[in-house]
Symmetry: C2
Subunit: 445 residues, 2 copies
């Protein structure tokens, strides 16, 4: 089908090109829109799609290993046999059979749950949105790891939450720092609503909370009565065959658990879930109905048929192998090529390495040069609500092949070395401030 320009096209294009001063709606937007800014992740999809650029930026899973013939056949069958259900409105809470199956999917992380406590969502991003919606009034405090998932920070900001970051190290969230942060927030008289954490194969930090730390974090949160939002999209994607035990496995009242099929099956279906105590679950379903009426039956039943008729865990094991190989390629290349002064995490699962640059180099300022050198990453500042992270970056090994990963790291190392040379010549602040680098990077376009 053809597209035809609107007669109003000229006007709106003109308005767009001259910026928000000509946005005639600007005085009418809700206050919450002030916190809604273009996410660095969204715009990096555009950079990532240019074939000459090795993108170590995106978080797209590598779904090329999926058995498309199996999926195609089961969807065909689904439409033929259950089309009247798959194509119709469904329950706001989600398909009952799928909710039973989700209980089975959570067994490996140690969770024993009841299907009635599950709300199926449009990806786990919607679960994050709904949890924030029901708990956060403007100004309420959310604790989050430093760094934290960029998509969560965007959602928190859109509900005008105040995010307080808590230090993490190679063993995950630091319990002493968590306890101190809780005390400080309470002492300041601010309403503390929950801790948001990704204990396993952290995005973007690439670290996993140790079992001892998990017990300590739970203890602290119980003692201080702080709710925990446990985001676990990567829990089954450990490379050593180990599946970390979820926080929720040891506390069904203090923890709301968010899961996703985006990394164990396919993100294009947008099927995730929240497991929450009964009273919270009721609120989540009401919020979900206000938001989308019901999640897509078509996607849900596709996932359900896939889980029922296919060895989905064998597929997860395939994914693990793929990502382990890519993690290895990235770590080897980093070990071989990175200049002294850079250091990085060594993930045992998931998609990401968190790299810290030699002192004095700004990852965001360096990005335009990196893209010119045909490699992309996400600057660390995207993963902080408070402007920190400028010396760091997230490197993804999930999507490019091992060869491309090595080539990407090689290009990145070149750019960092050039940056270090400039710094040696002109000084640290000169490197960050010389003309041209204050122009918006490709992640802002």
């Amino acid at each position: 089908m053809s597209q035809q320009p609107s007669p109003n096209r000229k006007t709106t294009d003109a308005a767009a090109s001259t910026g928000s001063r000509l946005d005639s709606y600007v005085d009418r937007y809700a206050t919450r829109t002030h916190g809604m800014t273009a996410s660095e992740v969204r715009s990096l999809f555009a950079v990532a799609s240019r074939p000459e650029v090795v993108s170590l930026a995106g978080g797209m899973p590598n779904i090329s290993g999926l058995p498309l013939d199996v999926v195609g056949a089961l969807v065909n069958d689904l439409v033929a046999k259950r089309g009247m259900t798959a194509l119709q409105y469904g329950s706001g809470q989600g398909d009952p059979t799928l909710r039973e199956q989700i209980c089975d999917v959570m067994r490996p992380v140690g969770i024993v749950a009841h299907p009635d406590d599950i709300t199926v969502t449009v990806g786990s991003q919607q679960a994050l949105d709904l949890v924030t919606r029901i708990f956060i009034d403007p100004g309420d405090v959310i604790l989050a790891e430093a760094p934290s998932y960029v998509g969560a920070l965007g959602t928190f900001r859109s509900y005008q939450a105040s995010v307080v970051h808590v230090e993490m190290d190679e063993h995950g969230l630091v319990p002493e720092r968590l306890a101190a942060a809780i005390d400080a927030v309470r002492a300041a008289g601010k309403p503390l609503k929950f801790l948001y954490t990704i204990p396993s194969y952290h995005n973007p930090a690439g670290v996993t909370m140790t079992p001892g730390r998990r017990a300590e974090v739970l203890d602290i949160c119980r003692r201080t009565d702080v709710l925990v939002i446990e985001d676990d999209p990567y829990g089954l994607l450990g490379f050593d065959g180990e599946v970390p035990r979820a926080l929720r496995a040891d506390d069904a009242e203090q923890v709301i658990y968010l899961g996703s099929f985006s990394k164990t099956f396919a993100p294009g279906l947008r099927v995730g879930w929240a497991l929450a105590p009964h009273a919270v679950r009721e609120k989540l379903v009401l919020a979900a109905e206000n938001s989308v009426l019901c999640p897509p039956a078509f996607s849900q039943l596709t996932v359900s048929e896939y889980l029922a008729g296919h060895d989905w865990m064998a597929q997860v094991k395939d994914f693990r192998e793929t990502y382990r190989e890519r993690r290895d390629a990235m770590l080897e290349a980093l070990d071989d090529l990175m200049p002294a002064g850079a250091h990085w995490t060594r993930p045992s699962g998931g998609f990401y390495v968190w790299l810290t640059l030699p002192e004095g180099i700004d990852a965001k300022a360096m990005l335009p040069r990196a893209v010119t050198n045909r490699v992309a990453y996400v600057p660390g500042t995207a993963f902080f609500a408070d402007g920190f992270g400028s010396r760091s970056m997230r490197l993804s090994y999930c999507y490019p092949t091992p060869e491309r990963i090595r080539e990407g790291v090689r290009r990145l190392a070149q750019v960092i070395e050039q940056e270090m040379e400039l710094r040696a010549t002109f000084g640290a602040w000169g490197a960050a401030q010389r003309p041209g680098l204050d122009a918006p990077g490709p992640d802002q376009s």
Copy 2:
């Protein structure tokens, strides 16, 4: 797969059965949750599913006419040929090809649009949610027809909007009342954010705004600078071959148009859209990303392939015929069977008849007796933000067969007559207040 009770099940069940006093999270919820109550529509899905009840309550489209073989084959083909796109993350704004096709789908209602001004959403319910999210601060005023769509009212309430209803008659929204309402809100110093209207084949009122009224409404909104949210899920479902011209067709700056494939194709895909001026569209995409990252590529490409490879307009014509036949069955049965004093609208498209009961009869109080007599409807109060509508109800003819519709109306007429007899014996208020009827109806369970 089997389900296994959680060890915490007993606790949470106990908490649920004793009500919200034992909701230990009650002090932590956001203020907005106070406006989130179980929608009468959701719970009526449960009533509607009991086979002995003729449900004139639900708004489920009759998708039994869909060519499942065609849909199954195209989805199979989609996964085989474009699986890497259909199963992957996509753009937050929605698939570009689908957005072009949506421009074509809007041509019959007179809209000439650019694909870049379209945001694909998870059903048009999400479009409603996003529009409300970007415009409404707590206390802001939304004008809506009296009655209005229950799902919109729920969303507006969840953002703590103040809804002011504007009178409508058989020709749609009454322009003089609209102008007066705008003046009154402004005079009271309240921030008026937009008018929400369903001009064509109104849900639940079953009326259509005349062309003259449309021009007047647009004039008033332009003159007073009030944004219009035009919700148009039924625009192509007129029974006389006529397709009403959208408000958006005559104003691209003052009107945000919401569309949906739920009634022209299938609701289980959850694909709708918003067409908005450029600056607003940018905000909508940011809000969509915070909410769900991106709409399901799987659903979007299914719709896209269906539109490209199938005579979708012929299918819409089939749907029109089906619904026209059912509308005829309902109006004939109402004409034949309803007692004097009841009156109702005569829809020329869409899914709904709005029936007003003889004076002194309360539709909500009567509902338990109606369900006992094996017929269900939605009480009129569900469609008002302010408690009005107790004498009215929404009757849907979209889902049951003509025979079932006739039987449902027969049962309903019996119940109304019984109610009238009681009223004649005990007086109007006796009928509404006698013991037992204040118990929650099935739509509250």
